[in-house]
């Protein structure tokens, strides 16, 4: 099968396409394929030219850390849980997430996610206890990977300057529902940095690898 990768040497250099041949393995994931491509032998592109190893980020390789988020055949996804057998056609096109600065190849700087949470003071401070009927929702929201897939697909997210996106909304829910001191501040921040910018396209819900019910977070925050 053909692997087409949008490559970039550094944040300041021009991106370019490079293609590779790869022998299809049924149960292989895109992450496993990248590892094999990089290290099975010298990396040679389809023109027979030696290529630098493909840079990508990974840690857990089982969908729990969000490191390997990238755009796979135009769909943002985690490489470690995207199987080659589920890809239509015989070409895999890999691109870095486009809403973030590319560091090199498929590695992007997602620091803006944490930076926005930090500057909007998204923390509990005084825990007032939790409503047990909210357990499943809290548990799901607590599993947010901060992988950035929800921001990548969001039509309203433009780099995180004013609209912070779904990852922010879910953390707001976790705080507003359980903090005795930060509830009002978080509600205010939510209004400024999320509510006014969200057009409820809800593409964030479909793409989330942890299946976080972001719509429920939004509904509860809007009611507060």
């Amino acid at each position: 099968m053909r692997i087409k990768v949008l490559r970039q040497k550094s944040p300041f250099s021009k991106p370019y396409w490079q293609e590779f041949d790869y022998t299809y393995i049924e149960n292989q994931t895109v992450a496993g394929m990248l590892d094999e491509l990089n290290y099975k032998d010298d990396l040679i592109d389809i023109n027979g030219e030696p290529a630098p190893r493909i840079q990508w980020e990974c840690s857990c390789l089982q969908g729990m850390c969000g490191g390997c988020a990238m755009v796979i055949n135009n769909r943002p996804a985690l490489a470690c849980e995207t199987f080659l057998k589920d890809i239509k056609g015989d070409t895999v096109v890999l691109e870095p997430l486009k809403k973030f600065t590319t560091i090199c190849d498929l590695v992007v700087d997602r620091g803006i996610i944490q930076e926005n949470l930090r500057k909007s003071n998204t923390y509990i401070e005084e825990y007032k206890g939790a409503d047990q009927s909210e357990y499943e929702h809290m548990y799901a929201a607590g599993k947010c990977l901060k992988c950035g897939l929800c921001l990548e697909v969001c039509p309203n997210y433009k780099g995180g300057k004013s609209f912070f996106g779904a990852a922010f909304a879910n953390d707001c829910y976790l705080i507003a529902s359980r903090s005795g001191t930060m509830e009002n501040a978080v509600k205010e921040s939510y209004r400024t940095n999320f509510e006014n910018g969200c057009s409820k396209a809800l593409s964030c819900v479909d793409v989330c690898p942890m299946k976080i019910p972001t719509l429920a977070s939004i509904a509860k925050m809007n009611r507060k």
């Binding site: 290290y39 990396l43 190893r53 003071n121 401070e125 607590g142």
Partner: protein, 544 residues
């Protein structure tokens, strides 16, 4: 204001940073990636604590006894006592930070049975306990980040510590953005870099935990401890990319291990150890699975889909996603795989190493688990260790000294420059892969002098060539400069395994199958200019 440099931002690093900030110190968390990428998020099963709502017959003494017994009596009693006595406070702290624990209808934290424990005391968040704790700690750290008491440095890789005359003054890092080395000085440095997975390649853990920091510190004069004790988790599921952990929680909820013979199921653990046989300590279960010589299965289907989805949702999803197995209908094929390192950097009870002002916490430190760790004690140890180190640093006064580390900086610059200019296409990963293959083969569940010698021959050869080879410069420079440290740690591990001529806990020698009283002490290993020296810590040098 005291400045603390913390290398690694998983649960141990976060716990230490928050504790430092609570005491008015300034903590800098340095790591290549944010906390959400740390191995801590993979910790599934739970955290041990004796709590008021628990079994009335349970006690802190019982938790101490189980931990010491599980560790085959070579963990320090005082250290373990401190750990277990603090567990309920740590649990309350986590609840207060908003960790989403699974609770009973009355709101009390649920507990499950875990291997090697006399009572149900493993508190949990579904089967994603580590992830939920990371989420809560990241939020709390954020509060102090806003106050300027916690700072974060990302895209920054550890290079070495800065030591003069037995005192640590900071560390040198590789800045991925500039490609240059960078010195960060501090009153204390805390290493929280996790276990040494890279020694074995495919493990249950993160690819980011490679043991380099421990290996490099060892080469700088830091003593290491108990490296031979490597925990093989009995129930992992093989996939093309890694060994996926099937949490001990699955057996805690009643899961049964068996193999098939003549069309019948043989519940070998129950046959051998009675009805609680599936929950024997991990070292024993792993060895029993290996002894069967057969494909072993874990059955939880009888729990029913509803209970599985409520108590073990991640186990259900993992098996379905990566192997297409519906665990509510089918059994899971399991085998043991490297999961946790009881050994690591030798630390005293305050978590300081033999170098003053240099601390180690979390999995990279060796202190609480002896020869075998109990499930549920690693999260506890990571949190507790961070707090203990912060308390020790907080109680110290530090002398300000201006020390010139330009020689170290220049050496690192030269090394990185020469790596950058390499025209070679040979990747460092080839040597890492060969190392992993040899370690898997020669330092498995059952060891022998012959196999350990073979492993030592292999690793010594890789070490002899590691610095002479030019590597592919399109790989991250970190992979190149970290290789000698990783190989040195591998060699030290094999030497420790060879030196211990008995079987104890996770260290089983086919040529020395008995446990011997004279070996009832930790192995310490030191390094001096290429020479490795081991001794048994019979006097408890690290026990204070």
């Amino acid at each position: 204001m005291k400045k603390v440099l913390i290398v690694g931002s998983g649960i141990a690093g976060l716990s230490c940073a928050i504790s430092c900030a609570e005491k008015g110190m300034e903590a800098t968390l340095v790591s290549p990636f944010p906390s959400e990428r740390s191995q801590s998020v993979l910790a599934a099963g739970g955290i041990n604590a004796v709590i008021n709502s628990g079994e009335t017959s349970d006690s802190i003494e019982s938790h101490i006894e189980d931990t010491l017994k599980g560790g085959c009596f070579i963990a320090g009693e005082n250290a373990v006592k401190g750990l277990c006595e603090s567990a309920s406070d740590i649990l309350r702290w986590l609840v207060k930070l908003g960790t989403v624990f699974t609770t009973d209808s009355d709101g009390s934290v649920c507990r499950r049975a875990f291997g090697g424990q006399s009572h149900r005391r493993t508190c949990y968040c579904g089967s994603a306990t580590g992830k939920q704790i990371v989420t809560a700690l990241v939020m709390e750290a954020r509060r102090y980040e806003g106050l300027g008491l916690i700072k974060r440095r990302l895209w920054t890789d550890f290079y070495c510590t800065l030591i003069r005359d037995g005192v640590c003054y900071g560390a040198l890092f590789y800045n991925e953005a500039t490609g240059a080395p960078e010195i960060l000085t501090a009153d204390s440095v805390v290493i929280a870099t996790g276990g040494q997975n890279a020694l074995f390649g495919k493990t249950t853990g993160s690819k980011s935990c490679d043991g380099y920091a421990a290996g490099r510190l060892f080469m700088q004069g830091v003593e290491l401890k108990n490296l031979e004790f490597i925990q093989y988790h009995p129930t992992t599921m093989a996939t093309d990319q890694k060994m996926m952990l099937v949490s001990e929680a699955a057996r805690g909820e009643g899961g049964r291990l068996y193999y098939e013979e003549k069309g019948k199921r043989v519940y070998f653990m129950e046959d051998k150890f009675g009805e609680n046989g599936n929950l024997m300590p991990r070292d024993i279960v792993s060895r029993c699975i290996e002894e069967t010589g057969k494909q072993v299965f874990l059955d939880i289907s009888f729990l029913g889909k509803e209970k599985i989805l409520k108590r073990l949702p991640e186990v259900y999803e993992l098996c379905m996603k990566y192997r297409g197995i519906d665990v509510s209908k089918e059994s899971i094929p399991v085998s043991p795989a490297v999961h946790f390192f009881m050994g690591g950097i030798a630390v005293k009870n305050n978590h300081e190493t033999n170098i003053r002002n240099l601390y180690a916490i979390g999995e990279c430190a060796s202190i609480y688990h002896g020869a075998n760790r109990l499930g549920g004690n690693s999260l506890l140890a990571a949190l507790y260790g961070g707090k203990v180190a912060a308390a020790s640093i907080g109680s110290r006064t530090f002398e300000k000294r201006d020390i010139d580390f330009s020689v170290e900086h220049k050496e690192a610059s030269e090394k990185l420059r020469s790596m950058r200019e390499s025209k070679s296409t040979y990747p460092v990963m080839y040597i890492r892969d060969m190392l992993a293959e040899s370690m898997q083969e020669n330092l498995g569940i059952v060891r022998s002098s012959e196999k350990l010698d073979k492993g030592l021959d292999d690793v010594s050869f890789y070490l002899s060539v590691a610095d002479k080879i030019h590597y592919d410069s399109s790989e991250l420079a970190y992979f190149g400069y970290s290789l000698p440290g990783i190989l040195t740690l591998a060699k030290a591990t094999l030497i420790c395994a060879k030196s211990r001529q008995e079987s104890r806990g996770a260290h089983y020698r086919s040529d020395f199958p008995d446990t011997k009283e004279e070996w009832k002490a930790a192995t310490i290993i030191s390094y001096d200019d290429g020479k490795y020296r081991t001794y048994l810590d019979t006097e408890g040098r690290y026990e204070n």
